[in-house]
Amino acid sequence: MEIHLKLYGSSKILSDKDILNVQLPNNSNIQNLRKVLTKIISEKYSKSNLNSLPRTAAFFSEKDEVINDNYKLKDKEFISIIPPIGGG
């Protein structure tokens, strides 16, 4: 399955576009997504400051609500990654 990860803040380093398409095993949840992101970052972006991102990021559903690690992802679903925030 594939999900469309909408990128914000520091996670924009992961792609030139605002969305990163992520391949996942079928029936994956947010916890699986964190593991895949950890792998992507360690393989391609180890020199960036993104190492802690899969652990510290929250995720929003298409309804802009925080979803927990057990949330079952659907094929082609749009999910937002929310790195630690700091406006003001």
Binding site: Y8, G9, S10, K12, I13, N49, R55, T56, A57, A58, F60, D64, V66, D69, S80, I82, P83, P84, I85, G86, G87, G88
Partner: protein, 152 residues
């Protein structure tokens, strides 16, 4: 209407303190409190030339509305609140956030202003990338929205 919230595309439009003052103006106000946050030219010894603000627009507006509603309920149901935050590239000196509060009394006006600012920093999905004089740039660390016990 007693609350105004917005994300402002800063390259197209500036955040205006005059607009904020007009919005909160009321003969019922005994106090007005205004907080203006600006991009400063230094951070941690690095010389800053500007900041890019990124935001999850819909979630930011939802959070702003919720924060203002809660502040009114907590401190002054009749208070008026104006809250705008920048999105996009802002140069040193430009306004990044403006909070203006009109209230019956000074204590409530100060408290609402402070409360709104702190809650924006802890709830609203906004990110800052600083740009430095040496050409480098850096996303700043922030506050995780993931429950603390899950961030190991």
């Amino acid at each position: 209407m007693s609350v105004h919230v917005a994300l402002i595309k800063i390259e197209e439009k500036k955040i205006s303190s005059e607009k904020a003052k007009k919005f909160i103006a009321s003969e019922k106000n005994g106090a007005e409190s205004i907080f203006v946050g600006r991009v400063r030219n230094e951070n941690g010894g690095k010389k800053v030339i500007g900041v890019t603000y990124d935001a999850h627009d819909q979630a930011v507006i939802k959070s702003f509305e919720s924060i203002c509603k809660n502040a009114k309920n907590k401190f002054d149901k009749n208070g008026k609140i104006f809250l705008e935050h920048a999105k996009g590239y802002a140069s040193v000196g430009e306004i990044s956030i403006l909070i203006a509060v009109g209230s019956g009394h000074r204590d409530e006006a100060f408290k609402i202003c402070r409360h709104v600012l702190e809650e924006v920093k802890h709830q609203s999905p906004i990110w800052k990338k600083e740009h430095y004089t040496d050409g480098k740039e850096e996303w700043l660390p922030g506050h995780s929205l993931r429950p603390k016990k899950q961030v190991k």
